[in-house]
Amino acid sequence: MSEVIDFKSRRKPTWCPGCGNFGIWNSLKAALANQNIAPHQVLIVSGIGCGSKLPDYTHANGFMTLHGRPLSIATGAHLANHDLKIILTHGDGDGYSMGGNHFIHAIRRNINVVDIYQNNKVYGLTKGQYSPTSEKGYISKTTLGGSIEESVNPLAIAVANGATFVSRGFAGETKHLTWIIEQALQHKGYSLVDVFQPCVSFNKVNSYQWYQQRVYKLEDEPDYDVTDQLEAFKRTKEWGARIPIGIFYRIRDKLTYEEQVPVLKKGALVKQDLRRSVPEIIKKEFV
């Protein structure tokens, strides 16, 4: 049996007191324990940013990579060893700005990883510039008159692009977030878990209170059908007095990328012997 304490590392987080990352971190550990996944069975891949330090604070295999590139690293790790459970934790700047291209392609490949975005709608580690998910009008050190760009809508992108698991959690609702991550861990295919992560130091707009006044759970909606793509798309566009969290969209009948790679049908690549014998006859190809 796996327990939360198994993931306890000797490291102490350097996040600001009250940071939304604590909630995400605790939910992730709880979800792993609930799913009985042990630290050695996991590889947590992150990028650069406050949230990307999560592997350092967690006893599990971890690879803290480059800004914007964890999805590519995770994709390679997964294709070479799909027996490992691969989880990504990175921020909105890392994933939706630097990593935007990789995000789109991970979705369409249906790579079987759990992709958690610590979305605080601001740049934390570089101290307060606007981020791709900052709302239009957001005032920051680099948008002194307010951002004149529309914010990225990652969930809408994911639903439109054919993602098989699209969800959003809130770091202030850890039980609910744990449930979402557990669902994502069970899902076969690319699982997007976008998480509202209040940044107590730099984002004075999107605070815990701000979210608490607005979020509602899709599971509580009596007629909500998570397999209805158009309805899911509509909900991803809902923003204002009511903001949905929960599982927006989930389909189970799509093959994952690795299921369609013939070589991987024999098992994880790194468990296949690479000391292959290449017959001399192959030279005939060049004769």
Binding site: D56, M64, R69, A80, L269
Partner: protein
Amino acid sequence: MQVNNMTLIIGGDAGQGVESSGAGFCKALARGGLHVFSVQDHRSRIRGGHNFYVIRTSDQPIVSWTEPVQLVVALTQETVNIHLKKVVPGGAIIYDDEFNIKKEQLENKNVKSIAVPLNKIARDIGGSQVMANTAALGAVAGLTQFPLKYIRSVVKDNFKKKGDKIVEANYKVAREACNYVISQYGTSFDWKLQSVDAPERMVINGNQAISLGALVSGCNFVSAYPMTPGTSIFEWLTAHANQYGIVSKQTEDEIAAICIAIGAAHVGARALVPTSGGGFSLMVEALGLAGMSETPIVIVNAQRPGPSTGFATRTEQADLLFTINASQGEFPRIVLAPGDTEQCFKATARAFNLAEKYQTPVIILTDAFLANSYRTIEKAALDFESVTIDRGQLLTEIELDQLRGDYKRHAFTDNGISARALPGHPKAIFKTTSDEHNEFGEIIEDAETRNKMHQKRMRKLDTALADMTAPILYGPVESEITFICWGSTLAPLKEAVNILNNDKRNMANLLQFMDLWPFPVEKVRPFVAKAGKLISVEGNYTGQLASLIKMTMGLEVDDKILKYDGRTFSPEYILNNLKEML
């Protein structure tokens, strides 16, 4: 009359099959027991624009291509005008009789005019003008008296996918053109091609040799974004992926290509990333990640002229110093530059072992000339048996089971190399990171650990020196001139050295530098001590190998012969430049 010693050029527009005819004719010659050495010259477009294919052939081993041409096969009128000046007296040009060419234009230069209704034969006999290139090969066979059966066998290989009808039509076209030339021009052409008994040889280019090397070396992961001239490595390995257990992934860009390879290598794959300079530029930050996280990966940078897009389909050797220095900060890397097809195979096998031994990126530097140039080599020259797979200090399952205490992925060691576990074992749960870290791979900020870890990584560079080879000497041990080179320049330079020494004993020798980083200073020293007048021959503007030698040894070369027009070095170019400087 000269038998089995000539150079021909096939020229035409992109889309006319210049490349397939050229490659096909190389194979036909090889099947006839002859050696070939080819150079391709094509533009970055799919249709239109002049392309040509140079094939030197002989019944003796060939060191390089050379400039004088005996026969030009012109699929366009433009080809005649461009290549006429290269044809030696008594040579010939085969062209379509529909072209507006005046016989006298050729004959004034003592070049035979071989007008053949190539297009008409293709249309009338084959049913399609696209077979004009097949007609041209038939015409070459007729003029040189080369047995048509070798053309036929290549035609069969090239068209069997399209069905027997197409194969037969192409063969008829070749035969008709061959017969036409024999009936009209007889045996007037002075250069003949005859088949000779010889062991079966391979016709293979540098990219294919690298691909084979990767296959034999246990490479089981390749990720790339297509970029000329690196692409054909990716395509070849992809074509063999299912049979040999390779995961091949085309990615959204080169940043993803290298990062996916790093991810795969991190968990234990032997990963290869083929690209060219532009793609390598995009990979630079991740190259540092591989260095920092001590992840073994192999990159092939098949160079082309830069900066920026440069010449997409042409050749240059201007990425040497960039490759050695790419990415911020300092970290160990190994750079190998094979100079011929055989060395491409061997360097690739070495690269995978060195990457895992030193747990760091290894870069194989080639260029478009070496990547694309088809040459005959003996089958035994690519010795599969000689390739061993050395995974370095990769912990075995038993060793992992016996681990005590927390596993240190980046343990401090004297030689800089730390025992490597792959993620997945309960006794070796570990982290690594692009941040500076401690032995456990945890992020640190303190100066003392930084120094120790940085020194540990950099020590691998000193350790790796033991595996770096001395320059390879060609020619006499002592000579008036010592050329130095790296990469594909080897071939034309060898030919130039041979020519110089034929004229005057001990005139020149040549040092080929294959292991470029870490630069094996102590192994180079005895060679330069004996060297004559040092002349660096390189495909770049500044003389980057010369700069590297100056930087590492404080030694200045006496002169440089440089080239950066995107075209391949020829022995004649080297000799002409030498003449001007002596």
